[in-house]
Symmetry: C2
Subunit: 454 residues, 2 copies
């Protein structure tokens, strides 16, 4: 028998997934208030409420789409606030919340641990708290290294050391959290010939988008002794997500290169083609930074990139979309369904039918949401279906790539993009679970009857 | 022990679904040869092979898309051949094959019964032969009534009785088989103010697209005595498919009317809006005839109608697409998945998880196929994504509505549309089953491991 305090009844009735959504909403609210402060704005500019809200949602969801040019409307204070918001969103409101708890030395109770578990989708309560601490250490270490490398390298690009390191810090946070915001006004186009800068950015984006569990497992492996390594077994999740992630990047780059071989890449050298297509493929995972104006690509390439953005990043990462694992499971489900297999094995493990069912449902929900949003945008905006589909997929995948139309959209469309960014970051599964009533099982059974599928 | 004739070994290794595909291919081949005969063509015309093939595939799959204006290129003989081909495709190669067997008095063996069962997706062998006979009787009766009513009514439209009844016969076959071909060159636009003609056509289209099992069950009910009726129980399939079919038509008409309320319907009377939107909604189930130039509708309406066409008709009907039952099961799956229900009941029956899994897989396959085709067409044709998506969905749903671009497509695009029509008619599930090896179950089990979905 546990003691029961009636004042906390409402909190006990809230599910972990509902709490996560409440936390994200609170984070958006706070960021909006902060970014609305006049001290964050450039002089003589007038930001509308919807644009401040859009920037806050975009930063918390680490998307990076912006309805106004950031550097024209926000001053250094504003940019620091945006970086802080990205950090908050990228590492996750829950992780940061846990960190605060740890700092203040409080013992983390069952409720909070359940919360963390649901956000990072971990299958067991055990070690959730230590996991959170590890996440923070890993991410901050990556960001620190990125900041030092980029800041130092930027000394040749910027007039003062202060500016170089400020740009380096923002770039490192923006890449690692997959925030995708740029304060130069032209993303990484400035560095389109500097392969070192591009390589560092790609590395940071991948580390932020490949999923925290993968980072933690790899960290364990690296720091383990030779003897221990023989006993370390990577989880099925880590194997599946890493393979899918890398296959998407490599295949993505190849297809992007092929689809524009007669157009944008027609007169480019092999190393230009390699870096342009590779960077654009990596960035569709959820990065959002870009080394070119993607509007210069062919329509089929923009549609292909829309599909890549729809897939998004790995679960428990800074990215959005339906997630790489969902995509992998759908591909596996379709392949085995087409072959008529009853039982599905990968990496010598059998997959739960329930997981496959989840994956295909999430995918269909995603398609319905994205397609409906695109049809609404296409009908109220003067842009083509391809253009709005690109922007919609970019928002849902919390990628932030843009054909440059977001700033010209009406307020209704901006609200739709905000909802997509929020949903993409929270994840369809978490969002749906937040709608569940606590008890949903029926105790009676009707007779089963088959249906012709057609 | 049964006797075994080695000469028929290959036939025993062919699965029923593979045989169905072979029969359809044979039907396309024969129709192509017939339609290529110069006696079927108008004088001084020159039909290319690809256009003859396109017409044959379109007729066998009862789609009705045409790459050339039928009445300009085919004479009366050609039109009769097309009507015959539609009849063949609409009633189904299998049904007709069975009928020939019955006519010749041969006892239908196990193999052939299995064949019929697979084509009509019936769950038991029992009564399959008698079912086929009933199908033919029902369809021919409907066509005969349609022919007599339309032919007689057309006396006021056409100069001679012969022409009126010829037009009535073609119209009845085209509507009942959901063939959708028109020999007037402008579909039913000629009858856009004649609500009687439209009503008869809608009725015939619905009867052809609602699925043979429904017709048979309703026929049983109608011809049963009052006492017997108390014991007749409609199957879950009939209930689900009929409700879905009617909901799609009514909701479809309402949305079509709303999406163009400020545009095409702006200055129309209530009865014009009613009949225009209702007819266009009915025709997207798979009919393909139309009372207006659908290109006059808004872009969002064309996209909405594309989605309706993608869904298509009921299984075991003359239509295509992913089928109404698949759509219904996906909606049910999504609804229950979103609510977190473990067990899914409709009409006091529990649905098999396997059927739901089939439905979502078929849907994702459909989306992938349609989207990929649209991207290819958009990249090689000078038309917008919306335009090619409409044409692609029309082909996949074997609907035959067109924004008028099919005749201007390149040969590659025509081949893609042909493949879509074929796949839409055969059905994704039958097509996938035809790829199966006979034995596909593994005898060993790997340990199961959970995956984070995201
Ligand atoms: K991003
Ligand atoms: K049709």
């Amino acid at each position: 028998m546990r003691t029961y305090d009636p004042r906390w009844r409402w909190a006990n009735n809230i599910s972990p997934t509902q709490l996560i959504i409440l936390f994200y909403l609170a984070a958006v609210l706070i960021s909006t208030c902060l970014l609305a402060l006049p001290i964050a704005h450039q002089k003589n500019t007038d930001l509308s409420f919807i644009d401040v809200l859009f920037t806050a949602v975009s930063a918390i969801s680490v998307t990076g789409l912006s309805s106004v040019p950031i550097h024209e409307y926000f001053n250094t204070t504003g940019i620091i606030l945006i970086a802080f918001t990205m950090q908050l969103g990228g590492i996750g409101v829950m992780t940061l919340g846990t960190f605060v708890w740890l700092l203040f030395g409080k013992k983390i109770g069952f409720k909070e641990r359940r919360l963390i578990m649901a956000d990072q989708n971990q299958g067991s309560f055990k070690g959730a708290v230590s996991l959170m601490r590890q996440i923070l250490i890993v991410i901050l270490t990556i960001e620190l290294i990125g900041f030092l490398v980029l800041g130092t390298y930027y000394l040749q690009y910027f007039p003062t050391a202060k500016e170089a390191y400020f740009q380096g810090l923002f770039a490192s946070i923006s890449a690692t959290t997959n925030g995708g915001f740029d304060i130069t006004g032209q993303s990484l186009i400035l560095f389109q010939d500097d392969y070192f800068v591009q390589f560092v950015h790609m590395l940071l984006i991948v580390l932020g988008a490949i999923g925290f569990p993968v980072l933690i497992e790899v960290k364990h492996f690296i720091f383990a002794s030779n003897e221990e390594r023989n006993f370390i077994r990577f989880t099925l999740f880590t194997k599946l997500t890493t393979v899918t992630f890398l296959v998407l990047i490599v295949m993505g780059a190849i297809v992007i290169a092929l689809l524009d071989s007669g157009h944008f890449f027609a007169n480019k050298s092999w190393h230009e083609i390699l870096f342009y297509s590779l960077f654009q493929s990596v960035t569709t995972r959820s990065g959002g930074l870009s080394t070119m104006d993607v509007g210069q690509l062919t329509e089929q390439n923009e549609l292909f990139m829309s599909a890549l953005m729809f897939i998004g990043a790995s679960p428990s990462s800074a990215g959005g979309g339906i997630r790489t694992t969902t995509f992998a499971l759908v591909v596996i489900a379709l392949y085995h369904f087409a072959r008529g297999n009853k039982q599905i094995n990968i990496f010598r493990r059998e997959i739960h039918a329930e997981d496959l069912f989840k994956a295909v449902n999430v995918t269909i929900f995603g398609i319905l949401i994205v397609f409906t949003s695109a049809v609404i945008l296409a009908s109220i905006e003067p842009f083509s279906l391809t253009e709005v589909l690109f922007e919609v997929c970019s928002a849902f995948g919390t990628v932030g790539l843009s054909l440059g139309i977001t700033s010209e959209l009406t307020d209704v469309s901006k609200v739709i993009l905000m909802l997509l960014m929020f949903l993409g970051r929270v994840g369809i599964l978490t969002f749906l679970y937040s709608l569940h009533r606590k008890s949903s099982g029926a105790n009676y059974h009707y007779p089963k009857e088959r249906i012709i599928i057609g």
